[in-house]
């Protein structure tokens, strides 16, 4: 068990009031250093899977192991969130601070870093993503593409060991998509991307998995 980053065993999950469970005896494994794309029709559970891993949703049955340790309670997931980053589908959900610098420094500050250190980390991360000079920009006045890149910076500033991306390309122009592609190609951590764009996935991940109710099948 210790060799996999994420392991989901016999997970059952249903949204309240839904006629069918999203997952029934679902099994899934992610090995270190892997880059995986998650595909499947709308409502097949791609986002749900990411939210189960982050502890935003709790399964009705089954167990989740992250970095070899079983996670059950909120306390366990708090530790998980320090090592796993999730990029939300909508950047407006992710960016809530007045200025870009404050938003990128929010995660490091929560990790207990002193302000000067948090600012340094934020600036280094922004430089890596080509976002120099964005420090004092007001988050809600950014363009869609800029918002997405800044959201990614807010997640990467926490120096995660695993990155989960929920439809990162939705609403982006070709140029920003290419920037995102190059950023992901240069990352040296494992990541999983939920996306409907095969082109984007072909350039960023080694294999794609189709999400079903019981397992993820390699395509």
């Amino acid at each position: 068990m210790s060799e996999s980053l994420i392991e989901l065993q016999n997970i059952t999950f249903a949204y309240p009031g839904a006629p069918h469970p999203v997952f029934q005896d679902f099994n899934f494994q992610l090995l270190p250093g892997k880059h995986i794309g998650l595909i499947g029709p709308n409502g097949c559970g791609k986002t749900t899977l990411l939210h189960l891993i982050m502890g935003l949703l709790r399964p009705q049955a089954g167990s989740i192991f992250i970095f070899g340790e079983e996670v059950r309670k909120e306390k366990d997931f708090v530790a998980v969130r320090k090592k796993v980053g999730l990029l939300f589908q909508n950047a407006d959900d992710q960016l809530f601070c007045p200025t870009v610098l404050e938003d990128v420094a929010f995660g490091p500050l929560n990790q207990g870093k002193p302000p000067a250190e948090a600012i340094r980390i934020a600036q280094v991360t922004m430089e890596r993503l080509g976002l120099q000079g964005f420090e004092d920009r007001v988050t809600h006045k950014l363009s869609g593409g800029e918002k997405k890149l800044v959201s990614l910076a807010t997640v990467l500033a926490m120096q995660p060991q695993l990155l989960l991306l929920d439809e990162p390309t939705s609403g982006l122009d070709e140029n920003t998509k290419h920037r995102l592609m190059h950023i992901l190609q240069d990352l040296d951590i494992a990541y999983m991307i939920v996306s409907h764009e095969r082109d984007f996935l072909n350039n960023t991940v080694a294999e794609c998995c189709h999400v079903h109710a019981t397992c993820c099948k390699s395509t």
Binding site: P98, F106, G107, L109, Q111, T154, M158
Partner: protein, 259 residues
């Protein structure tokens, strides 16, 4: 383009460059003093002070006038009600209606007071961008929750404005024209309800995103302010001016008319 704008927050005048904390404290004290003032002497002096501040802020005067007109359109209605309902000596009669001298004086006082406060707030507070305002209030040791409530409200106001416009457009392209009928009222109720539901969902997602980044109930502020000599001078001068107002109001026998 958003219809919510900060008209007066940008500029390079003296009023814009002052430390926001000093401006907020002075504006707050001034508003308090004006609100409780009951003499024309103090009120007129206050109005003069506010106009001096406004002159220092060098704002586009047309926009200032428009904003003052909006505020005064509310006060305009007071002129219809207060003089007619305030007890006192009748100076003017129209059928069953009678205006009193005290009523007219009182309404005039309210008009001057409100304008003095609004002008001072335009000159001192509206010249601070809302984001800086939140950070400055936090720096002034206002409870963190209140400051973040302000900042969150401001941050998501734009998102809701966009959502509102999207919904209105969706109604328009399907031929919706507001009329005075049940269908219109019902549609507007749906619109309001949908905005409420969406804002609830969004609050949920924002909170989830914050949890994912390790949020544990504590906000940290990175903003630092630098207090300069001109801020000290501004606050000292303002305090002297406020003391003068205080003197006019409470220590000097009424100059003009006391209501």
């Amino acid at each position: 383009m958003s219809t919510i704008q900060e008209l007066f927050s940008e500029g390079a005048s003296l009023a814009h460059r002052l430390d926001p904390r000093g401006k907020i404290v002075v504006a707050g004290l001034f508003a308090l003093l004006m609100a409780v003032a009951t003499t024309y002497a103090a009120t007129l002096a206050g109005l003069a002070l506010a106009i001096i501040c406004l002159a220092l802020a060098r704002l586009p005067w047309k926009k200032v006038v428009v904003r003052l007109l909006v505020v005064n359109s509310f006060i305009f209605f007071l002129w219809f009600i207060l003089p007619l309902t305030y007890p006192g000596d009748v100076v003017w009669r129209f059928g069953p209606l009678a205006a009193t001298r005290q009523g007219l004086i009182y309404t005039g006082l309210i008009t001057l007071k409100s304008n003095a406060i609004i002008i001072a707030l335009i000159a001192l507070v509206a010249t601070v961008p809302v984001v800086t305002l939140g950070q400055a209030l936090h720096n002034l040791r206002l409870p963190g929750k209140l400051c973040h409530l302000l900042l969150f409200t401001y941050r998501y106001l734009f998102v809701f404005e966009q959502e509102f416009h999207r919904l209105v457009q969706a109604m328009k392209i399907r031929g919706f024209r507001p009329r005075t009928n049940l269908h219109t009222y019902r549609s507007h109720a749906y619109l309001a309800a949908m905005l409420l539901v969406r804002s609830y969902d969004r609050a949920d997602r924002v909170f989830q995103a914050m949890l994912c980044r390790g949020f544990h109930g504590v906000f940290y502020s990175l903003r630092t302010f630098s207090w300069q000599r001109r801020d000290g001078i501004f606050v000292v001068l303002s305090m002297l001016a406020l003391m003068t107002l205080f003197y006019l109001e409470w220590l000097m026998p009424s100059l003009l008319v006391r209501v």
